[in-house]
């Protein structure tokens, strides 16, 4: 009895607050995840019962050129796109955090691209911008530069998707803004009295104090960029073309699962991705002690 009581005193409230999440974890998350882990060791065509195949899916994955290519495409997207997107989001958030007139309207306007989400309108728009006769080429033509078909050239198509990622920077921007709001104004006042310039204020006050949100944005954007699906799906029409240059990891996984009916193989691909994302996330967490400051 005594130990029970002590355990309750130590853990009770914590687990009470955690209860809804734990319930969700053990039902809604664990069951489907467990099932897909099992399926990754089977041959499963979705309509008939899965057949145990051991490590076959994982073994054939490493001999799959398309898989290797999709991994490469995704890594480019993540490690080029995410830093650029975050820099841009932070920059705009800093601009919009000042007391300029009409800032509310601007903030809403800057969020507009993200409101579109994965709408089909984006596909039309991107072709209008980066197609053979798109706006970008018209503008380049005006200054005498011959453009190219940005969206359909194997060497540039992925960059149009990275631009799309940067353009839809609304979510990290809002989070940065919310973080900037938590920086106590007294600190700025104090430093102004000390005669600190803007850049030094940013370096020594703003930046350290928003490292928790920066850290959050970095982790979350990396996790989600690894799983990016919709942009490539709508812009390449699900094909990942031209020449697989926009064949994102999850797009390939989707093709395997839903088009080729190889859900077992798709599950193996998914679990490999999970391990890869976990690796990079763990890396960021490991370094975070060096650069993330909490006020606690």
């Amino acid at each position: 009895m005594q130990t029970w009581k002590r355990m309750w005193a130590r853990n009770g409230v914590g687990y009470l607050f955690l209860a809804p999440w734990l319930l969700g974890l053990f039902t809604l998350s664990a069951i489907p995840m467990g099932a897909s882990l099992y399926l990754s060791f089977t041959e499963y065509d979705m309509f008939t019962s899965p057949e145990w195949s051991g490590l076959d899916n994982y073994v054939s994955m490493f001999g799959d050129d398309k898989w290797r290519n999709s991994l490469q495409v995704t890594l480019t997207y993540v490690f080029l796109g995410v830093p650029l997107q975050l820099l841009f989001a932070l920059f705009i958030a800093l601009l919009l955090n000042r007391g300029i007139r009409g800032v509310r309207i601007y903030r809403a306007i800057y969020y507009v691209p993200s409101l579109f989400g994965g709408s089909v309108a984006i596909a039309l728009l991107w072709r209008q911008l980066f197609g053979r006769e798109g706006l970008v080429n018209t503008m380049l033509g005006a200054i005498g530069i011959e453009g190219k078909n940005w969206i359909a050239s194997p060497d540039t198509a992925i960059y149009t998707l990275i631009i799309l990622l940067i353009w839809q920077f609304g979510a990290p921007m809002v989070i940065f803004l919310a973080g900037l709001k938590q920086v106590p104004t007294e600190l700025y006042e104090a430093s102004t009295i000390d005669g600190a310039g803007k850049w030094r204020q940013f370096r020594s006050i703003t930046l350290p104090l928003i490292t928790p949100v920066l850290f959050f944005n970095l982790v979350m954007q990396i996790i989600s960029a690894f799983q990016a699906f919709t942009p490539a799906y709508i812009i390449s029409g699900g094909s990942g073309g031209p020449l697989d240059s926009t064949l994102f990891y999850t797009l390939y996984l989707y093709q395997k699962g839903f088009t080729h009916f190889q859900m077992g193989y798709a599950s193996a691909l998914a679990w490999f991705l999970l391990v890869a994302i976990a690796f990079f996330t763990a890396l960021i967490f490991a370094t975070s002690k060096k650069w993330v400051y909490y006020q606690e």
């Binding site: 809604l28 300029i100 800057y110 409101l115 989400g117 919310a178 106590p184 996984l253 991705l273 976990a278």
Partner: protein, 284 residues
């Protein structure tokens, strides 16, 4: 001295204004294009290169709003408001509770649970779709909103937990002591200190839940098949068919309408974001 300073400040501000407006134009151009196209007659939408409609028509709005077989787009809007409202409620309550536990309470295995939470976000949803569908089908919840709402009340979206955790961790610990000295327990601490002070994060959670639920169509596509239960996202997909004709006019018109609530909610909620903690002050 003073006057000069203000003057140069103005000058710099106007530069910022120009940059911000120009960049803003790039951001908002697609929206303007969408709105303008929604008033163009069907054949003009893609054939004319002019931004302004040559003839303005409301036909797409009427046609789109009429919906299908007697179920109007108005019903889709109503359904979506219901769904989105529930999701917001669920996410704010469940995620802030879990976040509070992770950020402030001490219990065994805390770090392990937190790591598990992160891991649940790392599996692409395409491979969990089918097991999940089987699960909800067994519960006889297909064609209801439960598969879309229940996960929010069980804090399945770790994104928001993590977000709120980061904000709670930024709240100085000394404030906790003040509450504790007044004889408040952990529940009081949550309700009277943590929730009010992490308001910007909660608002952010609400905004994102609203927008993402509004736009998320894959889950809705799988679980909602009856037209009476259709949401706006599904209603919009109705106008598209890769193997046939697309009703672009109606799609653009209804997309325009569907962006209005998103816009309004964003503007409405972001006021709280701006004023968030600064006016309340840290001394609480």
């Amino acid at each position: 001295m003073k006057a000069v300073k203000i003057g140069s400040g103005r000058l710099r501000l106007s530069w910022i204004h120009i940059i911000i407006s120009l960049a803003g134009l790039i951001m908002i151009y697609p929206l303007l294009w969408l709105v303008s196209s929604s008033f163009k007659p069907a054949l003009e939408i893609f054939n004319s290169t002019s931004f302004w409609p040559k003839t303005v028509t409301l036909e797409h709005y009427l046609q789109g709003w009429a919906g299908l077989s007697g179920v109007s787009f108005g019903q889709f809007f109503g359904n979506t408001f219901f769904l989105v409202g529930m999701c917001m409620l669920g996410n704010v309550i469940a995620c802030s509770m879990a976040a509070y536990a992770f950020a402030r309470l001490d219990f065994s295995l805390r770090n392990i649970w937190f790591a598990i939470m992160l891991v649940t976000m790392m599996l692409p949803f395409h491979v969990t779709v089918i097991p999940q569908y089987i699960l909800f089908n067994k519960l006889d919840w297909v064609n209801t909103y439960w598969p879309l709402i229940l996960p929010k009340f069980l804090a399945v979206e770790g994104f928001f937990i993590f977000l709120i955790v980061q904000f709670i961790r930024s709240i100085p610990r000394d404030l906790d002591e003040a509450v504790k000295m007044d004889g408040g327990g952990p529940i009081k601490l949550y309700l009277y200190l943590i929730v009010p002070l992490s308001l910007p994060a909660l608002i952010t959670t609400m905004i994102f839940t609203f927008i993402w639920t509004w736009n998320d169509f894959f889950g809705q596509l799988l679980y909602i098949s009856e037209i009476e239960l259709y949401t706006v996202a599904l209603g919009l997909r109705m106008f598209l068919d890769a193997m046939g004709q697309n009703n672009w006019g109606a799609l653009f018109a209804m997309s325009t309408l569907s962006l209005i609530p998103l816009f309004v909610v964003f503007i409405f909620f972001q006021r709280y974001l701006i004023e968030g903690i600064t006016t309340g002050g840290l001394k609480g």
